[in-house]
Amino acid sequence: MSGRRERSGFMNRRDMLSAGGGAALGAVALRIAYLQTLDPTNYREASDENRFDLRVLAPPRGTIYDRFGTVLASTAREYRVTIRRGAVDDLERTITRIAQLLELDAAWIRRRLNEARAERPDIPYTLFRGLHWPQFAALNVHLPELRGVAAEAGERRNYPHDTVFAHPIGYVQKPTVRDIARVLDEGGAEGESRAVYLRNPDVRVGKAGIEAGLESDLHGQAGWRQVEVNAAGRVISEVGHAERAPVQGAGVVMTLDANLQRIAMQKFAELDLSTQAERSGAAIVMDTVTGELLVLASAPGFDPNHFVNGIGQEEFRGLNESERKPLYHKAVTGNYSPGSTFKMMVGIAAKQAGMPDDWSVSCPGYFPFGGRNFHCWRRGGHGHVDMHDALKGSCDVFFYRAALYAGPERIAAVARAFGFGQTYDLSLPGVRAGVVPDPDWFARAGRGQWTPGLTVNFGIGQGDLQVTPLQLAVMAARLGANGRAVMPRLVREAPGVRAPAPFQMIPGIDPAHLAIVRAGMFGVSNEGGGTAISASNLGLVRRPDNGRIVERTPETARFPPVQIAGKTGTAQVRAITDATRGRHYSTIPWRFRDHGLFVCFGPWDDPRYACAVVVEHGGAGSSVAGPIARAIMRETLLTDPARRAPAQLARLEANVRRPA
């Protein structure tokens, strides 16, 4: 019967198919067994590699202190809220709820909402930094109802004096793409692992100031911890196999005096009445015995705290494009013509060339030379002046002729002996050397033959001569120290930093020549006709009983006054034309006004501090730079930081590390 045959044919096929299916299922089971046993790939290891992740623990950076232990930069614990957009159901409701818990306003919600929406959904976006502990605790209680939100504790570099130490201390930032490329270029497994480390979001590196200069000391040693993570890299469990604790970076004690630095910055921040803006410039105070820099101020300042977590583009552009260049470390990188503050160098050089003590010139207000007139700043002239009076009244004509007497080589040699034309190792990036021109340099620069006209200009510190405010301070300190080759220092204590050997006398400087220019500087500040009398009246006296410097009051008026010796300077930014000559400063655009300079040292009877101030486009040195220097010197002499016991790093760190 056909039905039967049909059926058995189907049954055969059915059984074949069933057997095939069964065999295939068996093969699948064998495949599982194969993957688990014979497959050479170590899946268990691969699974652990997925599952466990080494989390880098960025070390806390070393603390930076001023000379008396005031904290200038520290690493503080910070609580923050992050949100991962991808894990949030309703972003707006979640952020609104967080705002409610943290008591923040609608504007904050709107701003954060916009920013969070722009962020990648799987990257945690930081909504709020710097939570107070009660806020952090309150938020933690509500976290279970806020999916995708995390409250984390981290560390953050903190600059408590905000704008005051922006330049010398600098700031840290996330490593840039270029930083990472650089360590990769160094090559090898080392470079690679260093690059991985730099990509860690918690890692910051010094990008300016001491933070950059002492990066390797301050940074500390990274630790790591093994954690269990998911595919998005989120930590599921902190329980791992191993960990190594990070080691905090070394502490650093600076030579700076926070109090004096603050006063210096405040003086620059006082509004310039003619422009209604902050002043721009630099101020330096240096210990003439140890070379320690007590003040290293550049103005205007900026807040380094804004850089730590990435500065806003708008804000950065504002800082970067400002005419007053707040990001520029003017004290060590600014190049200026020293103007009349250079005249001491010319005077010493002329003396070395054999200029007799009674040598004098008659100043009619100009000096005809080489077919043109070189003007003196005083149009009516100074009359008959010798070197003392020429320094006191800052007579240009005298120094035009003194320069011709000395010759450019001799002036350049003296300038170099007093610290110009060289750079200093302050552990700071970008300390510049400036330019001390002489005929050799001129020829090498491809400018041709040096001419006597250049020597004339050299005599009043103009022309190609370029100096930094730091170098002006070094010059003042060496003059104050009676010709000792004082070297500036910025770091008191850090790994590998040792106290310097006592400074030697500058070779080839005759003390008699030095005495003449120092006396001239005393005249500038203290004698009739001096250009800086008003800027030098400190109102301080020295008590004869204990030698302390105190303010002059009716009771102390009979004590001997504390005096300084200084020199004003006015450096042309562009050649004076007949159009601008004699015009009042307020009628000239700011950027074309002269730089005002002032250098000084004191106390006169036993110099301990030297000070240099440059006010960019501040007009005559006596009118702006002088008063700023006066305020700084007054506070310096009154508080006398060089004679107070400095902080010791070991003791400071012991205090910090004492358990609570």
């Binding site: 044919g9 096929r13 299922l25 699948v28 688990q36 268990r44 699974s47």
Partner: protein, 370 residues
């Protein structure tokens, strides 16, 4: 006795005579699904595990009712209509279909969106069973009568390839060939046809496939290594299975699954999660359950005297086998990655509707053998 009570009583009498061994295995597989979705959800009943369980319960109830009231003969009479309707819908998809993630597979009618290709998985089995039902043995084995069957398969396969949905097209083709094989196609045609199919596959690889499909196949063949792209799914899946061991990491403790390294773990890659959490033993138990289900269904296929009943039941069993083998082969790198879920366990409504419709027919064939 009221008529309603009477109807209810008679329904339960008849329902109790259904093939409860098949129903039990279906329930066991769905329960495994619920347990796995509970693990995927990180220990929450609400959401996926609950929806999965309720969906299965509802579909099982419908299947039982359908098995009691819709006879195999009714399915046979309805077969061409079903196939024709499914084909018409596939054509409609070409023109008014909804495109999601680069593929046009859906038809939306108000709030309901359906994939006609899913409907076709059952329709192709019924249509072919119906086709062979009317042929006598001599015709069945003749080459000339194989061509209409091939045409029945080719039309939907071509439309579905064009959506594009390689996995479903493959599954329908395999199910169709299985029915042709069961119907008695001669070996002397099968062997050349397979050779022809191999040539066709190579041709399709170069001519018809999309770049992403070609990339998946390249990765599968080892021609390309792309551990973060197309190869990522399979690599992570192999890691999870390879590291699981005999008994696995434990329920809700699979590090690959719980840590989200394993993608699509609630749908296409759920078998990986089963092995990771319950080990080799867990995987073999699930495979065995599918094996027993297939065997029981094939037993049903041996019962009816009608060609339609035999072929339809065996066709459903073959479809089930294709699903399981493609899916488990895929997660272990034996088959290229195509979007085929594990029946009754993977999350998702369409595949479950298809499978339960298939078993509604199997139960009906078992209950009304002629």
């Amino acid at each position: 006795m009221s008529p309603l009570l009477d109807v209810t009583r008679r329904f339960f009498e008849r329902a109790s005579a259904l093939n409860w061994s098949i129903i039990t295995i279906l329930c066991a597989l769905a329960l495994i699904g619920v347990l796995m979705h509970f693990s995927v959800a990180g220990g929450a009943w609400s959401g996926m595990p609950l929806v999965h369980g309720l969906r299965f319960a509802g579909l099982l109830a419908l299947a039982v009712i359908a098995a009691v009231y819709i006879t195999a003969r009714a399915w046979r009479d309805f077969a061409y209509w079903l196939y024709g309707g499914a084909l018409a819908l596939l054509v409609a998809v070409e023109f008014i279909g909804e495109t999601r993630m680069g593929a046009t597979r859906w038809l939306s009618v108000g709030p309901v969106s359906v994939q006609p290709s899913e409907l076709m998985k059952i329709a192709i089995v019924l249509a072919l069973a119906r086709y062979y039902h009317h042929l006598d043995p001599r015709q069945t084995t003749s080459i000339w009568f194989a061509f209409p069957a091939l045409a029945l398969i080719a039309a939907p396969v071509a439309l579905i390839m064009h959506q594009p949905d390689l996995g479903t097209a493959m599954l329908i083709a395999l199910a169709g060939f299985a029915v042709m094989f069961l119907a008695g196609l001669r070996w002397r045609y099968i062997v050349p046809a397979m050779a022809l199919a191999a040539v066709g596959a190579v041709g399709a690889y170069y001519g018809v496939l999309h770049d992403y499909q070609r990339a998946r196949i390249n990765v599968f063949l080892g021609l390309e290594s792309d551990p973060l792209g197309e190869g990522y799914h399979v690599l992570q899946s192999k890691i999870a299975i390879g590291a699981a061991g005999l008994t696995g990491q434990g329920w809700m403790r699979g590090s690959q699954s719980q840590g989200d390294f394993l993608p699509e773990k609630h749908t296409d890659f759920i078998f990986t999660m089963i092995v990771e959490e319950f080990g080799f033993i867990g995987g073999v138990i699930v495979l065995a359950l599918f094996g027993v289900l297939m065997w029981r269904t094939m037993e049903v296929a041996g019962r009816p005297r009608s060609q339609f009943g035999q072929l339809a039941a065996a066709g459903v069993a073959a479809t089930l086998a294709c699903y399981v083998l493609i899916n488990t082969g895929m997660v272990m790198g034996l088959v290229p990655v195509v979007g085929i879920p594990l029946p009754l366990i993977s999350y998702g409504g369409t595949a479950m509707v298809t499978m339960m419709a298939g078993f509604a027919i199997v139960l009906a064939i078992d209950y009304h053998p002629d």
